[in-house]
Protein backbone atom coordinates (compact mmCIF):
# COMPACT_ATOMS: atom_id res chain seq x y z
CA UNK A 1 0.00 0.00 0.00
CA UNK A 2 0.97 3.59 -0.55
CA UNK A 3 1.96 5.92 2.26
CA UNK A 4 -0.35 8.59 0.87
CA UNK A 5 -3.46 6.56 1.63
CA UNK A 6 -2.37 5.89 5.21
CA UNK A 7 -1.39 9.48 5.87
CA UNK A 8 -4.70 10.62 4.38
CA UNK A 9 -6.59 8.13 6.50
CA UNK A 10 -4.89 9.35 9.68
CA UNK A 11 -6.08 12.89 8.90
CA UNK A 12 -9.59 11.71 8.10
CA UNK A 13 -9.82 9.96 11.46
CA UNK A 14 -8.88 13.13 13.31
CA UNK A 15 -11.30 15.14 11.14
CA UNK A 16 -14.15 12.85 12.22
CA UNK A 17 -13.21 13.51 15.83
CA UNK A 18 -12.95 17.26 15.20
CA UNK A 19 -16.46 17.15 13.75
CA UNK A 20 -17.73 15.44 16.93
CA UNK A 21 -16.21 18.22 19.03
CA UNK A 22 -17.55 21.02 16.81
CA UNK A 23 -20.99 19.35 16.95
CA UNK A 24 -20.80 19.37 20.75
CA UNK A 25 -19.78 23.05 20.75
CA UNK A 26 -22.72 24.00 18.53
CA UNK A 27 -25.17 21.86 20.53
CA UNK A 28 -23.99 23.71 23.64
CA UNK A 29 -24.01 27.20 22.12
CA UNK A 30 -26.82 28.07 24.55
CA UNK A 31 -25.61 26.13 27.61
CA UNK A 32 -24.95 28.13 30.77
CA UNK A 33 -21.25 28.37 31.60
CA UNK A 34 -20.15 26.08 28.74
CA UNK A 35 -16.54 26.43 27.61
CA UNK A 36 -15.66 25.87 23.97
CA UNK A 37 -13.30 23.01 23.04
CA UNK A 38 -10.96 22.29 20.19
CA UNK A 39 -9.06 19.18 19.17
CA UNK A 40 -5.29 19.63 19.32
CA UNK A 41 -3.78 17.94 16.31
CA UNK A 42 -0.10 17.21 15.91
CA UNK A 43 2.29 15.39 13.64
CA UNK A 44 3.48 11.92 14.43
CA UNK A 45 6.56 10.85 12.53
CA UNK A 46 6.31 7.23 11.51
CA UNK A 47 7.98 4.66 9.35
CA UNK A 48 7.07 4.68 5.73
CA UNK A 49 4.99 1.80 4.48
CA UNK A 50 7.44 1.13 1.66
CA UNK A 51 11.15 0.92 1.84
CA UNK A 52 13.18 3.13 -0.48
CA UNK A 53 16.69 4.46 -0.83
CA UNK A 54 15.68 8.00 -0.07
CA UNK A 55 14.07 7.76 3.33
CA UNK A 56 12.28 10.82 4.52
CA UNK A 57 9.92 9.40 7.10
CA UNK A 58 6.18 9.77 6.65
CA UNK A 59 4.32 12.28 8.83
CA UNK A 60 1.02 11.00 10.16
CA UNK A 61 -1.64 13.10 11.87
CA UNK A 62 -2.48 12.37 15.47
CA UNK A 63 -4.86 14.00 17.94
CA UNK A 64 -2.95 14.85 21.08
CA UNK A 65 -5.67 16.22 23.25
CA UNK A 66 -8.56 18.59 23.67
CA UNK A 67 -7.87 22.25 24.37
CA UNK A 68 -10.46 24.18 26.35
CA UNK A 69 -10.88 27.91 26.09
CA UNK A 70 -11.76 29.09 29.59
CA UNK A 71 -12.44 32.62 28.34
CA UNK A 72 -15.26 34.61 29.86
CA UNK A 73 -18.74 34.04 28.43
CA UNK A 74 -21.23 36.89 28.06
CA UNK A 75 -23.23 37.72 31.19
CA UNK A 76 -26.97 37.61 30.79
CA UNK A 77 -29.41 39.21 33.18
CA UNK A 78 -32.09 36.79 34.40
CA UNK A 79 -33.70 38.72 37.24
CA UNK A 80 -33.58 35.73 39.58
CA UNK A 81 -31.98 36.32 42.97
CA UNK A 82 -30.43 32.82 43.09
CA UNK A 83 -28.67 33.08 39.71
CA UNK A 84 -24.98 33.83 39.93
CA UNK A 85 -22.29 34.43 37.34
CA UNK A 86 -18.54 34.59 37.88
CA UNK A 87 -16.64 37.41 36.27
CA UNK A 88 -13.04 36.28 36.05
CA UNK A 89 -11.54 33.54 33.90
CA UNK A 90 -10.74 30.13 35.35
CA UNK A 91 -12.64 30.58 38.63
CA UNK A 92 -15.38 28.19 39.72
CA UNK A 93 -18.12 27.67 42.28
CA UNK A 94 -17.32 24.78 44.58
CA UNK A 95 -19.89 22.01 44.86
CA UNK A 96 -20.19 18.77 46.75
CA UNK A 97 -22.09 15.54 46.28
CA UNK A 98 -21.69 11.96 47.47
CA UNK A 99 -18.83 11.38 45.01
CA UNK A 100 -16.76 14.30 46.30
CA UNK A 101 -16.15 17.85 45.20
CA UNK A 102 -17.05 19.27 41.81
CA UNK A 103 -16.66 22.69 40.22
CA UNK A 104 -18.95 24.69 37.96
CA UNK A 105 -19.44 28.02 36.20
CA UNK A 106 -23.20 27.42 35.97
CA UNK A 107 -24.58 29.45 38.87
CA UNK A 108 -28.31 28.72 38.41
CA UNK A 109 -28.83 27.67 42.01
CA UNK A 110 -31.95 26.95 43.98
CA UNK A 111 -32.92 26.23 47.58
CA UNK A 112 -34.02 22.73 48.47
CA UNK A 113 -36.83 21.95 50.91
CA UNK A 114 -34.39 22.30 53.84
CA UNK A 115 -33.29 25.75 52.74
CA UNK A 116 -29.90 24.56 51.53
CA UNK A 117 -28.39 26.22 48.44
CA UNK A 118 -28.01 23.58 45.69
CA UNK A 119 -27.58 23.29 41.93
CA UNK A 120 -30.46 22.14 39.73
CA UNK A 121 -28.85 18.70 39.85
CA UNK A 122 -28.97 18.64 43.67
CA UNK A 123 -25.28 19.28 44.39
CA UNK A 124 -24.73 21.29 47.56
CA UNK A 125 -23.09 24.67 46.88
CA UNK A 126 -20.19 25.12 49.28
CA UNK A 127 -19.40 28.24 51.19
CA UNK A 128 -16.46 29.08 53.42
CA UNK A 129 -17.70 26.71 56.09
CA UNK A 130 -19.42 23.92 54.13
CA UNK A 131 -22.94 23.93 52.66
CA UNK A 132 -24.85 27.22 52.66
CA UNK A 133 -28.22 27.34 54.41
CA UNK A 134 -30.47 30.33 53.83
CA UNK A 135 -33.64 31.22 55.67
CA UNK A 136 -35.69 33.28 53.26
CA UNK A 137 -37.83 34.60 56.09
CA UNK A 138 -34.84 36.79 56.98
CA UNK A 139 -35.22 38.61 53.66
CA UNK A 140 -34.01 38.31 50.09
CA UNK A 141 -30.38 37.20 49.93
CA UNK A 142 -28.07 39.85 48.47
CA UNK A 143 -24.68 38.66 47.26
CA UNK A 144 -21.70 40.95 46.94
CA UNK A 145 -18.89 40.74 44.36
CA UNK A 146 -16.70 38.80 46.82
CA UNK A 147 -19.43 36.21 47.37
CA UNK A 148 -20.63 37.41 50.78
CA UNK A 149 -24.32 36.73 51.30
CA UNK A 150 -26.32 39.13 53.40
CA UNK A 151 -30.00 39.21 54.28
CA UNK A 152 -31.46 42.47 55.57
CA UNK A 153 -27.94 43.75 56.18
CA UNK A 154 -27.05 40.70 58.29
CA UNK A 155 -24.10 38.60 57.06
CA UNK A 156 -25.33 35.01 56.59
CA UNK A 157 -22.61 33.26 54.58
CA UNK A 158 -20.14 33.42 51.76
CA UNK A 159 -19.99 31.59 48.42
CA UNK A 160 -16.68 29.84 47.83
CA UNK A 161 -15.08 30.83 44.50
CA UNK A 162 -11.91 28.90 43.74
CA UNK A 163 -9.35 28.44 40.99
CA UNK A 164 -6.59 25.98 40.09
CA UNK A 165 -3.00 26.74 39.23
CA UNK A 166 -3.35 24.75 36.02
CA UNK A 167 -6.74 24.36 34.44
CA UNK A 168 -5.68 21.19 32.64
CA UNK A 169 -6.21 19.18 35.85
CA UNK A 170 -9.96 19.61 35.34
CA UNK A 171 -12.01 16.95 33.64
CA UNK A 172 -15.50 17.62 32.32
CA UNK A 173 -18.14 15.56 34.05
CA UNK A 174 -21.27 16.60 32.11
CA UNK A 175 -24.15 18.64 33.59
CA UNK A 176 -21.87 21.68 33.53
CA UNK A 177 -19.56 20.13 36.13
CA UNK A 178 -15.80 19.81 36.26
CA UNK A 179 -13.98 17.29 38.40
CA UNK A 180 -10.45 17.49 39.69
CA UNK A 181 -8.45 14.71 38.02
CA UNK A 182 -5.32 15.35 40.08
CA UNK A 183 -4.63 15.90 43.75
CA UNK A 184 -3.85 19.59 43.31
CA UNK A 185 -5.87 21.61 45.82
CA UNK A 186 -7.82 24.65 44.60
CA UNK A 187 -7.10 28.07 46.07
CA UNK A 188 -9.43 30.97 46.71
CA UNK A 189 -9.95 33.15 43.63
CA UNK A 190 -9.55 36.61 45.08
CA UNK A 191 -9.70 38.46 41.75
CA UNK A 192 -12.93 36.86 40.52
CA UNK A 193 -16.21 38.64 41.14
CA UNK A 194 -19.65 37.16 41.72
CA UNK A 195 -22.59 38.81 39.94
CA UNK A 196 -26.04 38.18 41.34
CA UNK A 197 -29.12 37.92 39.09
CA UNK A 198 -26.97 37.02 36.11
CA UNK A 199 -25.85 33.86 34.35
CA UNK A 200 -22.81 33.33 32.19
CA UNK A 201 -23.62 32.25 28.65
CA UNK A 202 -21.42 29.80 26.78
CA UNK A 203 -18.31 31.25 25.12
CA UNK A 204 -18.97 29.40 21.86
CA UNK A 205 -18.60 31.68 18.85
CA UNK A 206 -21.19 30.27 16.42
CA UNK A 207 -19.66 31.88 13.32
CA UNK A 208 -16.27 30.40 14.12
CA UNK A 209 -17.81 26.96 14.68
CA UNK A 210 -19.72 27.04 11.38
CA UNK A 211 -16.48 28.03 9.64
CA UNK A 212 -14.75 25.09 11.32
CA UNK A 213 -17.57 22.88 10.11
CA UNK A 214 -17.01 23.96 6.49
CA UNK A 215 -13.25 23.54 6.78
CA UNK A 216 -13.61 20.05 8.24
CA UNK A 217 -15.97 18.99 5.49
CA UNK A 218 -13.79 20.38 2.69
CA UNK A 219 -10.63 18.84 4.12
CA UNK A 220 -12.39 15.50 4.45
CA UNK A 221 -13.56 15.65 0.84
CA UNK A 222 -10.19 16.63 -0.58
CA UNK A 223 -8.47 13.80 1.28
CA UNK A 224 -11.06 11.38 -0.03
CA UNK A 225 -10.26 12.58 -3.53
CA UNK A 226 -6.56 12.18 -2.86
CA UNK A 227 -7.07 8.59 -1.67
CA UNK A 228 -9.15 7.95 -4.78
CA UNK A 229 -6.39 9.33 -7.00
CA UNK A 230 -3.79 7.19 -5.25
CA UNK A 231 -5.96 4.14 -5.82
CA UNK A 232 -6.36 5.11 -9.46
CA UNK A 233 -2.65 5.47 -9.79
CA UNK A 234 -1.94 1.98 -8.43
CA UNK A 235 -4.70 0.48 -10.53
CA UNK A 236 -3.35 2.08 -13.70
CA UNK A 237 0.23 1.10 -12.99
CA UNK A 238 -0.85 -2.50 -12.44
CA UNK A 239 -2.73 -2.41 -15.74
CA UNK A 240 0.05 -0.79 -17.69
CA UNK A 241 2.99 -2.67 -16.25
CA UNK A 242 1.16 -5.96 -16.40
CA UNK A 243 0.31 -5.57 -20.09
CA UNK A 244 1.94 -8.23 -22.20
CA UNK A 245 2.91 -6.69 -25.46
Amino acid sequence: MENAAYVGLSRQMTLRRELDIVANNIANADTTGFKVEQLLVGTEVGERARNAFIRPSASFVLDKGVGRDFGQGALEQTGRSLDFAIEGEGAFFKLQDGAGEAYTRDGAFTLNAEGQLTTEGGFAVLGDGGPIILDRALGEPAVGPDGTISQNGELTGRLAVVRFDTLSVLEKGGDGLYRNASNAAPVEATDARVRQGMLEGSNVNPILEITNLIEIQRAYESISRMIENTNDLSRRSVERLGRVS
Binding site: E37, E171, E209
Partner: protein, 262 residues
Protein backbone atom coordinates in the same frame (compact mmCIF):
# COMPACT_ATOMS: atom_id res chain seq x y z
CA UNK B 1 -20.73 9.30 13.52
CA UNK B 2 -21.21 10.78 16.96
CA UNK B 3 -21.76 14.26 15.50
CA UNK B 4 -25.18 13.25 14.14
CA UNK B 5 -26.55 12.36 17.56
CA UNK B 6 -24.85 15.33 19.21
CA UNK B 7 -26.49 17.74 16.77
CA UNK B 8 -29.83 15.97 17.20
CA UNK B 9 -29.62 16.56 20.97
CA UNK B 10 -28.94 20.23 20.21
CA UNK B 11 -32.00 20.44 17.99
CA UNK B 12 -34.33 18.85 20.54
CA UNK B 13 -32.97 21.16 23.25
CA UNK B 14 -33.72 24.22 21.11
CA UNK B 15 -37.15 22.83 20.34
CA UNK B 16 -37.87 22.69 24.07
CA UNK B 17 -36.53 26.23 24.37
CA UNK B 18 -39.01 27.43 21.72
CA UNK B 19 -41.84 25.63 23.52
CA UNK B 20 -41.00 27.40 26.78
CA UNK B 21 -40.70 30.78 25.06
CA UNK B 22 -44.00 30.33 23.21
CA UNK B 23 -45.76 29.51 26.48
CA UNK B 24 -44.34 32.71 27.98
CA UNK B 25 -45.53 34.80 25.04
CA UNK B 26 -48.96 33.13 25.13
CA UNK B 27 -49.27 34.03 28.82
CA UNK B 28 -48.07 37.60 28.45
CA UNK B 29 -51.41 38.95 29.69
CA UNK B 30 -52.16 36.24 32.27
CA UNK B 31 -52.63 37.69 35.76
CA UNK B 32 -49.87 36.61 38.14
CA UNK B 33 -48.03 34.50 35.52
CA UNK B 34 -44.32 33.99 36.15
CA UNK B 35 -42.16 33.54 33.08
CA UNK B 36 -40.19 30.34 32.67
CA UNK B 37 -36.68 29.84 31.47
CA UNK B 38 -35.04 26.70 30.07
CA UNK B 39 -31.58 25.95 31.44
CA UNK B 40 -29.27 23.69 29.44
CA UNK B 41 -26.42 21.49 30.57
CA UNK B 42 -23.84 19.52 28.63
CA UNK B 43 -24.30 15.75 28.43
CA UNK B 44 -21.75 13.25 29.63
CA UNK B 45 -18.26 13.14 28.18
CA UNK B 46 -16.47 10.13 26.75
CA UNK B 47 -12.83 9.82 27.61
CA UNK B 48 -11.09 8.75 24.40
CA UNK B 49 -7.71 9.34 25.92
CA UNK B 50 -7.65 9.84 29.66
CA UNK B 51 -5.78 12.81 31.00
CA UNK B 52 -3.04 11.75 33.33
CA UNK B 53 -2.60 8.49 31.40
CA UNK B 54 1.00 7.42 30.86
CA UNK B 55 2.17 8.18 27.36
CA UNK B 56 5.56 6.45 27.61
CA UNK B 57 7.53 4.10 29.78
CA UNK B 58 9.52 7.15 30.97
CA UNK B 59 6.52 8.22 33.01
CA UNK B 60 5.37 11.12 30.86
CA UNK B 61 1.65 11.73 31.14
CA UNK B 62 -1.00 13.04 28.76
CA UNK B 63 -1.62 16.61 29.98
CA UNK B 64 -5.05 17.26 28.54
CA UNK B 65 -6.52 14.02 27.25
CA UNK B 66 -9.33 13.79 24.76
CA UNK B 67 -12.85 14.13 26.08
CA UNK B 68 -15.65 14.16 23.56
CA UNK B 69 -19.02 15.46 24.69
CA UNK B 70 -22.26 13.82 23.67
CA UNK B 71 -24.36 16.97 23.29
CA UNK B 72 -26.79 18.90 25.41
CA UNK B 73 -29.85 18.32 27.57
CA UNK B 74 -32.40 20.46 29.37
CA UNK B 75 -31.15 20.82 32.95
CA UNK B 76 -34.25 22.53 34.27
CA UNK B 77 -37.14 24.72 33.26
CA UNK B 78 -37.62 27.05 36.16
CA UNK B 79 -39.99 29.88 36.99
CA UNK B 80 -38.49 33.31 37.42
CA UNK B 81 -40.40 34.62 40.44
CA UNK B 82 -39.57 38.24 39.77
CA UNK B 83 -42.31 40.70 40.81
CA UNK B 84 -44.80 41.51 38.06
CA UNK B 85 -46.02 45.08 37.65
CA UNK B 86 -49.08 45.84 39.82
CA UNK B 87 -51.84 47.11 37.55
CA UNK B 88 -54.64 49.28 38.83
CA UNK B 89 -57.90 47.59 37.84
CA UNK B 90 -60.34 49.22 40.23
CA UNK B 91 -61.92 45.80 40.77
CA UNK B 92 -63.44 45.67 44.26
CA UNK B 93 -62.10 42.17 44.94
CA UNK B 94 -58.78 42.45 43.11
CA UNK B 95 -55.72 42.01 45.32
CA UNK B 96 -52.07 41.92 44.27
CA UNK B 97 -49.14 40.74 46.39
CA UNK B 98 -46.19 43.11 46.42
CA UNK B 99 -43.29 40.94 47.55
CA UNK B 100 -43.13 37.28 48.49
CA UNK B 101 -46.08 35.02 49.07
CA UNK B 102 -49.01 33.17 47.53
CA UNK B 103 -52.74 33.21 48.19
CA UNK B 104 -54.15 29.90 49.43
CA UNK B 105 -57.01 28.39 47.45
CA UNK B 106 -59.12 25.41 48.52
CA UNK B 107 -59.55 23.02 45.60
CA UNK B 108 -62.76 20.93 45.26
CA UNK B 109 -60.58 17.88 46.03
CA UNK B 110 -59.84 19.31 49.48
CA UNK B 111 -56.21 20.08 48.61
CA UNK B 112 -54.77 23.55 49.04
CA UNK B 113 -53.36 25.26 45.96
CA UNK B 114 -51.37 28.47 45.78
CA UNK B 115 -51.63 31.39 43.39
CA UNK B 116 -50.35 34.89 42.70
CA UNK B 117 -53.47 35.74 40.69
CA UNK B 118 -55.59 37.86 43.01
CA UNK B 119 -58.48 38.63 40.65
CA UNK B 120 -61.13 37.33 43.03
CA UNK B 121 -64.91 37.58 42.98
CA UNK B 122 -67.84 36.69 45.21
CA UNK B 123 -69.95 33.56 44.85
CA UNK B 124 -73.67 33.20 45.57
CA UNK B 125 -73.04 32.95 49.33
CA UNK B 126 -70.93 36.09 49.44
CA UNK B 127 -67.72 34.10 49.81
CA UNK B 128 -64.44 35.33 48.28
CA UNK B 129 -63.55 32.92 45.42
CA UNK B 130 -61.29 32.68 42.36
CA UNK B 131 -62.48 32.90 38.75
CA UNK B 132 -63.17 29.18 38.90
CA UNK B 133 -65.24 29.49 42.08
CA UNK B 134 -62.66 27.96 44.42
CA UNK B 135 -62.72 29.48 47.90
CA UNK B 136 -59.87 31.66 49.11
CA UNK B 137 -58.44 30.43 52.43
CA UNK B 138 -59.06 31.46 55.20
CA UNK B 139 -62.73 31.87 54.25
CA UNK B 140 -63.89 35.46 53.85
CA UNK B 141 -67.60 36.23 53.63
CA UNK B 142 -68.86 39.63 52.64
CA UNK B 143 -72.30 40.48 54.08
CA UNK B 144 -75.04 41.10 51.55
CA UNK B 145 -75.68 44.63 52.72
CA UNK B 146 -72.07 45.76 52.30
CA UNK B 147 -71.73 48.96 50.31
CA UNK B 148 -67.96 49.20 50.28
CA UNK B 149 -65.10 46.78 50.86
CA UNK B 150 -61.51 47.64 51.62
CA UNK B 151 -58.52 45.37 52.09
CA UNK B 152 -55.56 46.76 54.00
CA UNK B 153 -51.89 46.18 53.21
CA UNK B 154 -51.75 43.64 56.01
CA UNK B 155 -54.73 41.72 54.63
CA UNK B 156 -57.50 42.93 56.91
CA UNK B 157 -60.85 42.88 55.11
CA UNK B 158 -63.23 45.63 56.22
CA UNK B 159 -66.74 46.42 55.01
CA UNK B 160 -69.08 49.32 55.45
CA UNK B 161 -72.64 48.08 55.62
CA UNK B 162 -75.67 50.12 54.62
CA UNK B 163 -76.59 52.70 57.20
CA UNK B 164 -73.25 52.43 59.04
CA UNK B 165 -70.38 54.90 58.97
CA UNK B 166 -67.80 52.83 60.84
CA UNK B 167 -66.19 49.94 58.93
CA UNK B 168 -66.32 46.50 60.51
CA UNK B 169 -63.73 43.74 60.15
CA UNK B 170 -65.02 40.60 58.40
CA UNK B 171 -61.83 38.63 57.91
CA UNK B 172 -58.07 38.46 57.54
CA UNK B 173 -56.28 37.29 54.36
CA UNK B 174 -53.18 35.17 54.89
CA UNK B 175 -50.41 34.33 52.44
CA UNK B 176 -47.93 31.45 52.25
CA UNK B 177 -44.22 31.43 51.46
CA UNK B 178 -41.87 28.56 50.60
CA UNK B 179 -38.18 27.82 50.92
CA UNK B 180 -37.98 26.93 47.26
CA UNK B 181 -40.69 28.63 45.23
CA UNK B 182 -39.24 27.20 42.01
CA UNK B 183 -40.14 23.73 43.33
CA UNK B 184 -43.90 24.40 43.27
CA UNK B 185 -45.78 22.37 40.69
CA UNK B 186 -47.88 24.34 38.19
CA UNK B 187 -51.22 22.66 37.52
CA UNK B 188 -52.76 25.25 35.18
CA UNK B 189 -55.49 27.82 35.92
CA UNK B 190 -52.79 29.99 37.58
CA UNK B 191 -52.56 27.43 40.40
CA UNK B 192 -49.49 25.87 41.98
CA UNK B 193 -49.22 22.88 44.30
CA UNK B 194 -46.83 22.20 47.16
CA UNK B 195 -44.22 19.46 46.50
CA UNK B 196 -41.40 17.91 48.51
CA UNK B 197 -39.01 20.10 46.51
CA UNK B 198 -40.77 23.31 47.47
CA UNK B 199 -40.88 22.48 51.17
CA UNK B 200 -43.93 23.02 53.39
CA UNK B 201 -45.98 26.23 53.19
CA UNK B 202 -45.16 28.84 55.80
CA UNK B 203 -48.38 30.79 56.38
CA UNK B 204 -48.30 34.31 57.72
CA UNK B 205 -49.89 37.74 57.73
CA UNK B 206 -49.04 40.04 54.81
CA UNK B 207 -46.55 42.72 55.74
CA UNK B 208 -44.70 40.60 58.33
CA UNK B 209 -40.94 40.13 57.86
CA UNK B 210 -40.42 37.82 54.87
CA UNK B 211 -43.97 38.29 53.54
CA UNK B 212 -45.14 40.70 50.86
CA UNK B 213 -47.91 43.19 51.40
CA UNK B 214 -51.27 43.43 49.66
CA UNK B 215 -52.43 46.05 47.21
CA UNK B 216 -56.20 46.40 47.00
CA UNK B 217 -57.85 47.08 43.61
CA UNK B 218 -54.67 45.98 41.83
CA UNK B 219 -53.71 42.78 40.04
CA UNK B 220 -50.19 41.60 39.35
CA UNK B 221 -49.38 41.56 35.62
CA UNK B 222 -47.25 38.73 34.24
CA UNK B 223 -43.51 39.35 34.39
CA UNK B 224 -43.00 38.35 30.75
CA UNK B 225 -40.85 40.84 28.87
CA UNK B 226 -42.02 40.64 25.25
CA UNK B 227 -38.83 42.08 23.77
CA UNK B 228 -36.63 39.66 25.71
CA UNK B 229 -38.82 36.72 24.68
CA UNK B 230 -38.71 37.64 21.00
CA UNK B 231 -34.91 37.94 21.07
CA UNK B 232 -34.70 34.56 22.83
CA UNK B 233 -36.91 33.17 20.07
CA UNK B 234 -34.51 34.45 17.41
CA UNK B 235 -31.51 32.99 19.23
CA UNK B 236 -33.27 29.63 19.61
CA UNK B 237 -34.17 29.52 15.93
CA UNK B 238 -30.61 30.30 14.83
CA UNK B 239 -29.19 27.70 17.19
CA UNK B 240 -31.65 25.15 15.79
CA UNK B 241 -30.52 25.96 12.25
CA UNK B 242 -26.84 25.66 13.15
CA UNK B 243 -27.40 22.23 14.66
CA UNK B 244 -29.19 21.13 11.50
CA UNK B 245 -26.16 22.37 9.56
CA UNK B 246 -23.98 19.99 11.58
CA UNK B 247 -26.28 17.10 10.64
CA UNK B 248 -26.04 18.03 6.93
CA UNK B 249 -22.25 18.24 7.14
CA UNK B 250 -21.91 14.90 8.92
CA UNK B 251 -24.23 13.32 6.38
CA UNK B 252 -22.26 14.72 3.44
CA UNK B 253 -19.00 13.50 4.95
CA UNK B 254 -20.45 10.02 5.33
CA UNK B 255 -21.58 10.09 1.73
CA UNK B 256 -18.07 11.15 0.61
CA UNK B 257 -16.61 8.25 2.60
CA UNK B 258 -18.94 5.78 0.97
CA UNK B 259 -18.08 7.07 -2.51
CA UNK B 260 -14.34 6.47 -2.16
CA UNK B 261 -14.70 2.97 -3.53
CA UNK B 262 -16.54 3.45 -6.77
Amino acid sequence: MRALRTAASGMSAQQLNVEVISNNIANMNTVGYKRQRAEFQDLLYQNVERMGAQSSSQGTVVPTGIQIGAGVKAGAVYRVTEQGTPTNTGGLYDVAIDGRGYFQILLPSGETAFTRAGNFALNGEGQLVTDDGYAVQPNISIPQDAVDVSISKSGQVQVITAGETEPSIVGQLEIATFFNEAGLEAVGDNLLLETTASGPANVGTPGEVGFGQLLHKFTEASNVDAVAEISSLIIAQRAYEMNSKVITTADQMLSVASQVKS
